[in-house]
Symmetry: C2
Subunit: 336 residues, 2 copies
């Protein structure tokens, strides 16, 4: 077994990659939610001064990466790799942001699991001795995602109560081989899990089994203590998916109820903000981790976190072809 492996799906980083700084930008609606004081920038309008929502989202990615690097002691030209992606076809917002940032770029796609996927790869690049400075970032945007995955916004389509609200948000983590800050300690990489759910307006139940599989793999591989965590945060299972997760993983012998949160549940006040089952999108766990969770880690209000971003990998084409929703979840364990 390779020297850094702890088991079937988990690795132990040995050189302590540090998250030296982060950035977060969210849209106006997210800026009215319960976590509003934790985000670095709240947009006044969804277009961010651009001519299309897609380019508004792309500008968010570009600016959040500049912001995160700007908070460190480094400059953009010292970043060896950007590992990033988004929900749009051909990673449109990230690809165009990477063009403007002019740094070596690995595009990744894991639907809403992309934040922990990009953090996993970025910290492996640093831990493996390939770089001293890598940025991991992802984004999503309500207007670009809704019209790509569901219906034109102008249609004003009614949303079932199981639906989630795609977060307009982005987050970036600057990961370094040295410096001060919370450290990425372990990574558990998910498999694609598909329990046959076909309703794209009810993605929590599709993704929850993937989160169960990955979290169970972590504890099986490491025999770590649930109570040593301050937070185990899934990406965007929402209210329905979050309940399923707690129930299913309890049946596997792991009771997470005392440390569990879901970024999609926390980001909105669902009754007041009419967001039904919760927030979703890559930008959900990206903004909540890089805003809320990271800042609490930095202040040592919490000291050990598992971030489990959760992605539904269906495509509009696969949905038209009557396929179910394959899902994936990646876990990153971060400690002070």
């Amino acid at each position: 077994m390779a020297k850094k492996r702890l088991g079937n799906q988990t690795i132990q980083l040995q050189n302590n990659p540090v998250i030296i700084s982060t950035g977060s930008i969210v849209g106006p609606k997210e800026g009215e939610g319960p976590l509003k004081d934790y985000f670095d920038m709240i947009l006044k309008d969804d277009l961010f001064g651009e001519e299309s929502w897609e380019f508004g989202e792309s500008k968010m990615v570009r600016e959040v990466i500049k912001m995160a690097v700007g908070k460190s002691d480094y400059v953009l030209n010292q970043v060896d790799y950007i590992v990033a992606g988004d929900l749009l076809n051909q990673l449109m917002s990230t690809s165009f942001a990477a063009r403007d940032l002019k740094r070596p770029f690995f595009g990744v796609y894991g639907a809403c699991s992309t934040m922990s996927e990009s953090m996993s790869l970025a910290s492996m690049i640093v831990d493996g001795g390939f770089s001293d400075l890598v940025v991991a970032a992802t984004s999503s945007h309500f207007c670009t995602a809704e019209r790509q995955f569901r219906y034109p916004l102008e249609l004003g389509n009614q949303r079932p109560m199981t639906a989630q609200w795609t977060v307009t948000g982005t987050g970036a983590s600057v990961i370094s081989s040295k410096g001060e800050g919370p450290k990425i300690k372990r990574i558990t990489t998910g498999k694609v899990i598909d329990k046959g759910i076909t309703d794209v307006n009810n993605m929590g139940p599709a993704m929850a089994p993937a989160a169960v599989d990955t979290i169970k793999a972590y504890f099986d591989d490491t025999k770590d203590d649930i109570d040593s965590f301050d937070i185990i945060a899934t990406g965007d299972l929402g209210i329905i998916g979050g309940e399923i997760l707690l129930d299913f993983i309890n049946k596997e012998g792991y009771d997470l109820s005392s440390v569990y949160m879901d970024c999609g549940i926390e980001i909105f006040d669902h009754k007041k903000q009419d967001t039904h089952s919760g927030g979703s999108g890559c930008g959900c766990s990206a903004s909540v981790f890089n805003g809320y969770i990271y800042k609490k880690l930095k202040k040592k209000e919490i000291n050990k976190v598992m971030l489990v971003s959760t992605g539904a990998l269906m495509s509009p084409t696969s949905t038209l072809q009557k396929q179910s929703i394959p899902s994936i979840a990646h876990a990153v364990i971060i400690e002070n």
Copy 2:
């Protein structure tokens, strides 16, 4: 500078990740081309027995990964990570293949640069001590790509002579920390380059500057000798892009003419097969590398290769929004 870095964009792997086996599958048209004897499997029909082209492509990915692992001394359950992607929205063919393969999965998107992107990340994972066995794979399919990026096939749209023909093909490399075979020695990761080309029926000229940038970065970083290479292979610049590459890089002081090939030029007999400027798609460099080039390396007919898969990162949405084509190229240096 991190210990494995050679310069601004290049790293030197220190633990000799080995490509212990590969697999390649192509469609019927590619199976009539000049490289037909090098592919492991030639499909009799583009659907591969499935009900949609997308699921035909997905089956190709699943089967090529099984085939590549099957040729090694390992079984699928010993693969720690699959790093893979394709051209389809939400990586549809790869996501569904990964579901069936049940191994930890990192989805990547670099358009037609995805083969060298996935090989880069897979070999960093092995070299960094995180795994002894990783699979890198990508695919493309004429019928799925054409209808997603251009027009319905039923339209029978006329193709300009600058257009390239998306290869129906897939390839997988099994990368290990030990064993016999060609070794991945160095990696140069590309930046997104955009020189303002807007014609999606003429992608070679859009991608050629990205290939120039990455190849120049490699030689600037390493001072390596061009003549030490047997082959420097771009992914799919085609006839027009290939000429531009040789011309532009010559102006930078590097004459590649004696060692240069392009996978998109070699895979078809363009006059007989009516493929205009050449082949394209992730599956082009994937099948040509894992079929043709790897087999020549294994037989020691050649000993040192640079694979530079080249990707055009435009999206149909960005094209409708009148944007130019951002492009990227990643280089992987493989030696016996």
